[in-house]
């Protein structure tokens, strides 16, 4: 459902994403891991059609995002890491606006908005301006609005940040249910336990390149890590601080 071929993004002389090849299949939840600045968000934003790639191609549901952006985007739901919404719209108005961007309106959409707002515990705030929402509430509003048009593919950047435990649990169940029904999710996260528990396959990106990808077992095999948890495996692949360095810093 998502296919990246030689995907590259350069900012001047800096290469943020370097010729990535990746395929996320239908009915799969794919976890995208990597240290800060590794190129995760840039990759996701290129898939969502927000950034133009410097090279390579992105296909969503078999449609080339560069050649037929509108058709590809109609099948996609994008959830960014920072919940910027229109402060002067109410929650319901925002959802109605997002549905309209996907060409949807009418009683069916209204029912869908009510359902989604109730699902994310936002029903009682639906007629309040989003400027009075907390960070977590805005995040939930964005997630709800990304589901309003019933996408086939969800691309989500750090979805758990700012969510309370109940909402985080809801989101995990929702994504599993979504892929169970044939949907596709590409999710970037720093919460390795969540990635390990939820994702069918995991890709690790470092310096703009995918350095490892596969199921947990395949990753262990690739790194000869025995039955180490994902956290250890991730640090082994991406490098971490030594104890000596830590005590040096803390002791001054």
């Amino acid at each position: 459902m998502i296919q990246l071929r030689g995907l590259t993004k350069r900012y001047g002389t800096f290469t943020a994403v370097n010729a990535i090849d990746l395929e996320v299949r239908r009915g799969e939840l794919f976890g995208f891991l990597g240290p800060n600045g590794a190129g995760k968000t840039t990759t996701l934003r290129m898939i969502a059609g927000i950034l133009k790639p410097s090279g390579g191609t992105v296909h969503v549901a078999g449609i080339d995002v560069e050649r037929e952006p509108l058709r590809a985007k109609a099948r996609l739901g994008y959830i960014p890491d920072r919940p910027f919404v229109y402060d002067k719209l109410t929650g319901a108005e925002f959802m109605r606006f997002v549905a309209a961007l996907y060409g949807q309106e009418g009683p069916v959409v209204e029912r869908r908005i009510d359902e989604l707002l109730a699902l994310f515990d936002l029903a009682q705030w639906k007629h309040e301006l989003t400027e009075s929402y907390s960070h977590g509430m805005r995040q939930k509003l964005i997630i709800a609005s990304a589901l309003a048009h019933r996408p086939e593919v969800i691309v989500v950047d750090e979805p758990m940040v700012g969510l309370d435990p109940k909402s985080a649990r809801l989101l995990k169940d929702l994504f599993r249910e979504f892929v169970g029904r044939g949907g596709t999710v590409l999710m970037s996260t720093h919460t390795l336990e969540i990635a390990e528990a939820m994702c069918d396959r995991i890709g690790i990106i470092l310096g703009g390149r995918i350095i490892a990808a596969g199921t947990m077992d395949e990753l262990r095999e690739q790194t000869q890590a025995g039955d180490l948890p994902l956290e250890e495996l991730f640090l082994r692949l991406t490098g971490g601080l030594h104890e000596g360095e830590l005590s040096e810093i803390l002791d001054g």
């Binding site: 910027f84 301006l129 009075s132």
Partner: protein, 568 residues
């Protein structure tokens, strides 16, 4: 664990360092990126500055030549100018200190750091004064320079002028921030900002109306000077002896007229020091509560649901994407006090404009020539075009920039950039067309323009409005200010300036093309007593129509292309 030792508290320069370093980085980036940009800014600034200097210089030279009056009038005028600057500064400081002291992004960091409150106060006060005063200082420079040159102030005059102006800036800064501090303790900061925008706009509108109603043009008429003795007595007495701006004017004028009086500078500097001390004391007592309150106070509910329903019906015929986009823009505009309150100022300016046209001495006594009325009507078309360009700069140019934070949503959705642009276009063009027609038709009625001139003006202004609105959007897409939170700052950016220059150039082209048919029309009326439609006239109209339509479509196409290219 080793005990954390605070070796030395950070000084003022250290607290302010992120600000000046950021300014320096912006300057370096600008210098490396665009020499042309700097040249345009310098050019426009230079022209404006020179014009202001030339006006001040000529007025002062003329005033100096008047016996007796030459000594007092410039002092009086300087006092009035500084009083106006002082009022603007006070208002500006009240609004700026809301951001710097209560809403700025660095405040959490400063509040959590072990920095003495007095240093935070002084650093923030300095920041507030610089932000609020730079434009006033730039305006004051050519005027004070003219004073120094005309009255031979000597090489030390710049220092004297600076010593007179600096305490005024400090006093306004300290008073403005103290006033804000008290206001925030009464209302939460976000509500105060709304309230203040209204007060500011209302105050500005009142000043404009007041200045206009005073009819300053009458002062230059000879009959205004009938009672010279009374006039001189009024000039000699200071109008506001207890205001710092008056003391500053006296410092400058005493230097220029060789009067040694240590009282004005002493009182001025002592007052400046006292306001800072009082401001610091108030800050120490009230800031913590105020800052805490500033974190609250976002608006929760919406008002005006009936208007919303009416708007929904009005645009009901549009396709769903366009319709919801237009409704979204209207809702946001009318729910944001800082945005809709600008309409008050616009209404006042339009009333003043109409008042000015009505006050033109065209039909006061003897019969005026047909040529003069036609000429004034034609020039009025140009002036109306300029006013419309300015309105487009304020309301249409920022439209793309204001989507900055939500661009992720628009770019990731299947909304064609063309639809986005056309939605924005009609949201801006329809109200602008209404304003354009109101201005043109009313002023032409006031000027008793002929049917030919009325038809020409209305036709031209419709076409020009459509084109200038498209230009505003296209330039808005080419020079977006995505990170600006205050929409009112966007039109004064480099892109806003380039848009205004392009729009005015385009207007000049339209006026030049139409000048010939208007001249032919005047000739025909003189010779035959009735208008004659000839090939020249038809060709000129066709050229204007083609130019306007090509500009509209070309600008919108370029804007849409640019929107697709934005990488953010």
């Amino acid at each position: 664990m080793a005990e954390a030792v605070l070796r030395r508290e950070p000084g003022l320069a250290r607290i302010l360092s992120p600000k000046w370093r950021a300014a320096l980085a912006r300057f370096r980036r600008g210098r490396a990126g665009a020499l042309g940009k700097t040249l345009v800014l310098l050019g426009v600034g230079g022209v404006f500055w020179s014009a202001l200097f030339a006006i001040a210089y000529r007025v002062l030279v003329a005033a100096r030549a008047v016996p007796d009056l030459g000594l007092y009038l410039p002092g009086k005028v300087l006092g009035a100018i500084l009083l106006t600057f002082g009022s603007i500064l006070l208002l500006s400081n009240v609004i700026t200190s809301l951001s710097t002291f209560f809403l700025a992004k660095d405040l959490d960091l400063l509040a959590a750091a072990p920095v003495d409150w007095l240093r935070v106060y002084l650093a923030k006060l300095a920041e507030t004064i610089v932000h609020s005063s730079w434009m006033v200082v730039l305006l004051a420079l050519p005027i004070l320079t003219a004073y120094g040159i005309v009255y031979a102030g000597g090489p030390l005059f710049p220092l004297v002028a600076a010593a007179a102006l600096a305490p005024v800036l400090v006093i306004c800064g300290a008073l403005g921030s103290a006033l804000t501090l008290v206001l925030v303790n009464v209302f939460p900061a976000r509500r105060t900002r709304d309230l203040l925008s209204l007060i500011a706009i209302g105050a500005a509108a009142s000043v404009v109306v007041l200045l206009r109603l005073l009819r300053p043009e009458q002062l230059v008429r000879p009959e205004g000077f009938q009672n010279l003795l009374d006039f001189l007595v009024t000039l000699r007495t200071p109008a506001n002896p207890y205001l710092p701006t008056e003391w500053a004017a006296r410092v400058v004028m005493n230097w220029l007229t060789f009067v040694a009086d240590p009282l004005p500078p002493t009182v001025l500097w002592l007052t400046a020091a006292a306001t800072v001390v009082i401001g610091a004391a108030l800050h120490g007592a009230l800031y913590r509560d105020g800052y805490s309150k500033a974190q609250e106070g976002a608006e929760r509910f919406v008002r005006g649901k009936r208007w919303s329903l009416a708007a929904h019906r009005f645009v009901g015929f549009l396709p769903v994407q366009t319709r919801e986009f237009v409704l979204k823009d209207l809702r946001i505009f009318f729910r944001d006090t800082t945005q809709w309150s600008q309409l008050i100022l616009l209404a006042v300016l339009l009333i003043v404009y109409l008042f000015n046209i009505q006050a033109l001495p065209l039909y006061t006594g003897e019969r005026v020539s047909f040529l003069l009325v036609t000429l004034v009507t034609f020039l009025n078309l140009g002036l109306a075009g300029f006013v419309l360009a300015a309105i487009a700069a304020r309301f249409v140019f920022p439209a793309i920039s204001l989507e900055g934070r939500q661009l992720w949503l628009l770019r990731s959705s299947p909304l064609p950039p063309r639809t986005l642009l056309w939605s924005k276009y009609w949201t801006g063009a329809v109200p602008l067309l209404v304003v354009a027609l109101v201005i043109t038709v009313l002023t032409n009625l006031l000027l008793r323009a002929s049917p030919f001139m009325m038809a020409l003006s209305v036709g031209t202004i419709i076409l020009y409005t459509l084109a200038t609105c498209a230009l505003a959007l296209a330039f808005g897409a080419y020079y977006p200010q995505f990170d600006t939170e205050n929409a009112a700052q966007i039109p004064t950016s480099f892109g806003g300036l380039v848009f205004m220059m392009s729009s005015v150039t385009f207007l000049a082209v339209v006026i030049v093309v139409e000048a010939r048919p208007v001249l032919n029309y005047v000739r025909a009326m003189r010779e035959q007593g009735q208008p004659r439609i000839d090939a020249d006239m038809v060709l000129a109209m066709a050229v204007v129509a083609a130019l306007c339509l090509a500009t509209t479509l070309g600008a919108l196409a370029a804007g849409a292309r640019r929107l697709e290219e934005i990488d953010r």
